[in-house]
């Protein structure tokens, strides 16, 4: 780390940018609490995952190069999404296997990139102080964060320090919710069957809130819960940790 405190880029992700800016502001608030010098590079759009998962490697490489250039020079790059962080950390280097120059740059970026929740806990040992949220909640582990980046204990440990928040275990918390990026619109029937099972498990917890670390999955589950008339409300865990739990949940108007 060149700078102390570190210069940190917040890579908000395309979904947060468009659908739920509050997660971006929650991330900023958390990063400021550990005294990072946070910047939001204006040239950011998307990590390229939709292209990658559709098989368009050339298109993904172009987007990856754009982001590698954009995020050069920051000590850390923090992403409030396990799957987008994993794309940068795990997939970018693989994309440039035959191109030593860009491969080195991709590895360098990968080494500086972190998923937000694990970053707060693993790097800074941060726990919320004076944050309260008197309600019950359950937590879904999004797949990429869980399996590619080992995000599992960190959010739970931090949420345990939120005053008044009672966490309820979710049966099959580590099982995919059926989102899968473009999968959910390419195969809506299968995706629906999967998320219906997930929604039933969430309802069975009897919790008031559903929390997670990836907006795509949260939108999928919250959208299904809402369609079925469930009263369970969904937030990104960062929002609760930043004390924004009394604001509107996903899909609620302020």
């Amino acid at each position: 780390m060149k700078n102390n405190p570190p210069r940190v880029a917040l890579f908000a992700t395309c979904l947060v940018d468009a659908m739920r800016p509050q997660i971006g502001f929650a991330a900023l608030a958390l990063l400021e609490q550990v005294n990072c010098l946070v910047e939001v590079p204006m040239g950011q759009t998307c990590c390229g995952q939709p292209a990658l998962n559709s098989g368009d490697q050339d298109g993904t490489r172009k987007i990856a190069k754009h982001n590698i250039k954009l995020l050069a020079g920051f000590d850390h790059v923090v992403v409030p999404s396990g799957s987008c962080a994993a794309t940068i950390k795990k997939d970018y280097p693989d994309l440039f296997e035959t191109d030593p120059v860009w491969h080195a740059k991709a590895v360098d970026l990968a080494n500086r990139t972190y998923e937000l929740l694990s970053y707060m806990s693993d790097i800074w040992g941060w726990r919320p102080k004076n944050v309260s949220c008197a309600t019950t909640a359950t937590y879904h582990d999004s797949c990429s964060g869980l399996r590619s980046l080992n995000v599992q204990a960190q959010p739970r440990a931090m949420l345990a320090s939120v005053a008044g928040l009672e966490m309820r275990p979710l049966e099959g918390a580590n099982v995919c919710c059926g989102f899968g990026g473009t999968f959910c619109v390419k195969y809506p029937d299968i995706s629906n069957a999967i998320v219906a099972e997930k929604a039933a498990a969430i309802n069975a917890t009897g919790a008031d809130l559903l929390l997670g670390g990836d907006l795509g999955c949260l939108m999928n589950m919250a959208g299904k819960l809402h369609r079925d008339g469930s009263k369970i409300r969904a937030f990104h865990a960062a929002e609760i940790l930043a004390g924004m739990g009394d604001g509107p949940a996903i899909g609620e108007t302020a």
Partner: protein, 465 residues
């Protein structure tokens, strides 16, 4: 709607399929989890298994030669088949030479893959399936829907109906035990009367020339011992160097498949009956089958050849658990099938399989030989994209989106415009119908954007500071 989508629709509409899938796969998952939890060296064994398989695949010729030489010493006759068709011709040829009217067969996925049941039928040879589940699907005229439990898609109730229709003296059939004994009564005679028994192999052991089969019903033993002729068909990837490695692989295979420590029957067969043996076949044939394995190596799918056919990946697959095995329309369903089928059947006709996957990675996590299934599945998507198989509308949508993603200023303009339009479709915070979003809104509501992109709001906030 294409053929895959049609099968998916049918599967999702089937009123009993999901119950049947859940009964078996839920038990399989929890038993496996308990078995792995009780085996502290699992992670180590998994690495060992992976490395051992990779070693054998890299030295295939060496171990095949060793296996052949040692098997010949035991009195076995070795046959080589480049294709599935060649393999079937060899098997049918042996049956005809033995003047076989009836053959017994113990479950083998390779047999299904190469179309052996059909080939035997076409040759006019009676085929008796000795595995209970294979017996069920033979009666039903179906194909396996799972590689470990071929009749997983059938409920107990459906099996009862089938036996009542086909068995002589089926009895009450009120319990699973009664069903099993009805099958036993109906099959036993045929077991004993068969001229040829055909089995697969779970392992080919190079340094002894023996083959190993694992079953829970003991049917492999009944298939391979009473008949005069025993034919083994095995994919060349089943090779292991020696008994030591076979033991490691056995532990990995059985725990991953059923959660048991060992199957009820683990049998090693080495050559025909020797002088002094009480039983055993007079002829022992081993048909070593390539059928696309070498092609898979060349296609960059070497890791797939590690597969032990344990079924754990499908038991843990959210897609398989909704649509079942038949929807895949191929011999091998689930994650491993989505990697193998495009290679065996061609990518163009099976391109939906690698696409109908959320890439959640649980299959890789549970695979006892650490096959990176999601990576291989995504590899097929890359090939499909390069070959222009991606449906035009999604390909164009993606290209347009990529165009904007590379031009941040335009991207923000377009996105903020869209963000202003979206709320027009909303009712109370949620959108339940919107043009171009039918795939999403058919089943779920879409939250309306909070208003203005994060970047736009952030810029405003910074300017106000």
């Amino acid at each position: 709607m294409n053929a895959f989508q049609g099968r998916v629709t049918a599967a999702l509409a089937d009123p009993t399929l999901k119950t049947a899938i859940d009964r078996t796969t839920n038990t399989a998952r929890s038993k496996r989890a308990a078995a792995i939890a009780a085996w502290p060296e699992f992670a180590q064994a998994r690495e060992l298994g992976r490395d051992m398989k990779d070693h054998v695949i890299a030295n295939m010729e060496y171990y095949l030669t060793m296996f052949e030489a040692n098997a010949v010493k035991t009195g076995a006759k070795i046959h080589w088949a480049r294709t599935g068709q060649e393999a079937c011709e060899i098997v049918v040829g042996i049956c005809k030479a033995a003047k076989a009217k009836s053959v017994t067969r113990s479950k083998s996925m390779l047999g299904e893959e190469i179309g052996l049941p059909h080939a035997l039928e076409a040759a006019g040879i009676e085929r008796v399936e000795t595995d209970l589940a294979e017996h069920i699907i033979q009666l039903a005229g179906e194909t396996p829907s799972h590689i470990i439990w071929p009749a997983l898609h059938k409920t107990r109730e459906q099996v009862g109906e089938l036996f009542r229709a086909h068995h002589t003296d089926p009895g009450e059939l009120a319990t699973v035990e009664e069903m099993v004994s009805s099958a036993r009564r109906n099959l036993r005679e045929k077991f004993m009367a068969a001229d040829v028994g055909i089995s697969g192999a779970n392992f080919l052991i190079a340094d002894t020339g023996a083959i190993c089969t694992v079953t829970n019903e003991g049917n492999a033993e009944l298939t391979t011992t009473p008949p005069r002729v025993h034919i083994v068909t095995a994919g060349i990837e089943k090779l292991v160097p020696s008994m030591v490695e076979a033991m490691t692989m056995l532990r990995l295979l059985v725990r991953s498949a059923t959660g048991a420590e060992l199957t009820q029957y683990t049998t090693f067969h080495a050559g025909p009956k020797q002088p002094g043996d009480v039983d055993g076949p007079e002829e022992f044939h081993i048909v070593l089958v390539d059928a696309g394995r070498t092609t898979m190596l060349a296609e960059g799918l070497a890791e797939m050849l590690r597969c032990l056919r344990c079924g754990a990946c499908m038991n843990h697959c959210v897609v398989y658990r909704q649509i079942g095995g038949h929807a895949y329309g191929a011999t091998y369903p689930g994650p491993m099938g989505s990697v193998i089928t495009p290679s065996l059947d061609g990518l163009e006709t099976s391109q939906d399989l690698p696409r109908a996957c959320t890439l959640n990675g649980q299959c890789h996590e549970v695979c006892p030989v650490a096959i990176p299934l999601p990576t291989l599945i995504r590899g097929w998507r890359t090939k499909a994209w390069v070959q222009g198989y991606e449906p035009l509308h999604t390909a164009w949508a993606l290209r347009i989106w990529e165009f904007f993603a590379l031009r941040p200023v335009l991207y923000q303009l377009a996105s903020n415009l869209a963000l202003r339009i979206m709320p027009l479709f909303a009712k109370g915070g949620w959108i339940s119908k919107m043009p171009l979003a039918g795939g999403w809104t058919r089943y779920r509501d879409m939250p309306i954007p909070q208003g203005g992109s994060f970047l736009a709001q952030y810029k405003k906030r910074q300017a106000a500071k």
